[in-house]
Subunit: 161 residues, 2 copies
DNA sequence: GGCGCATACTTCGTACGCTAAATATCTTTC
DNA sequence: GAAAGATATTTAGCGTACGAAGTATGCGCC
């Protein structure tokens, strides 16, 4: 019964929630982008830089998994970061299919002096919520995410011809 | 004090919320895209089509305002929809700077026979929430959105040199 | 009635972001 | 141990998405 959504009751909250969600996401993204620009970075490049900072290197697949993008997308992002001298590619010795992405000295320096976190605006306003709201929001969003994950999983591997 | 966010207490909920939010948004978008594809549309094209369906025509700016994109982005989307015969551009008589985007017969037919709503997956799981959670979620998100709007407004017009 | 400013849209260049197909390497299986 | 299948990455092509600059039109004001 996972795919039956009767829609008997057109909840009035629904559109408002959707609208707020889209607004928050797109606006935060836009602001992150403009903040990153001040350091000569794009939004996704900032995300990659901050992801590499604590660990130094990651495989391309590990990166794409964490930023929820496809490998082909991350290939492009890394191309430009490599062109700008922020990272280098290095073939793994254990598995020669794998490419490790490593921070260069320049990349590390930039990561350190860049105080912006991805989705900074979002974090800022979230931090202003009281503990009650914060916990509620977390609980409800995780519930939604779990449902989506279930539906996606079961619908995997049967696209309409 | 609008820009001072002490970050004294690194709330543990924060990252989980952010993660769930990004997951829900990107996954819903991805699914909408693949559903739209079954009707020969892209995600944004579906959004525009559904937005035009009830009213028939809108100015390009009105469209870009509602889908939270810039005019230059929407110009491209409309270019491709016009190429595919779904809409036509018509200069406004009252204000000759304005371009109205109108559904063609083909566009209207497609809109009618396309049962997918934008962010369908998101709507589906939202509709499963109880009224309590639904109201809470709405209240909290609107509070966040209001704060973002305030911050964006006050920071408008002073980018770093 | 023309000058300056604002608004609506387009064009251009860059950067994602995706799918499908190609390449290279690993793993399994017989 | 070679063929068959799985996995990691890249390439190519298309469609957003943005900012900056350009064009056309409207509007206020002297």
């Amino acid at each position: 019964m996972a795919q039956a959504f009767p829609r008997i009751d057109p909840q009035p909250d629904l559109d408002a929630i959707l609208e707020a969600m889209v607004y928050l996401y797109t606006e935060s993204r836009r602001i992150t982008k403009s903040l990153a620009l001040a350091h000569g970075l794009t939004g996704p490049q900032l995300v990659v830089l901050k992801m590499l900072e604590p660990v130094g290197k990651l495989s391309l697949s590990a990166l794409s998994g964490r930023i929820r993008a496809k490998n082909s997308t991350v290939t492009g992002i890394i191309d430009r970061m490599e062109r700008d001298g922020l990272v280098v590619r290095r073939r793994s010795e254990e598995d020669r299919r794998v490419v490790h992405i490593e921070l260069t000295a320049k990349g590390r320096r930039l990561a350190e002096e860049t105080d912006v976190e991805p989705m900074q605006m979002f974090r800022d306003v979230l931090a202003e919520l009281g503990p009650r709201d914060s916990a509620d929001l977390r609980r409800i969003l995780m519930k939604l995410a779990r449902r989506v994950r279930d539906v996606v999983q079961t619908h995997e591997g049967e696209p309409p011809p």
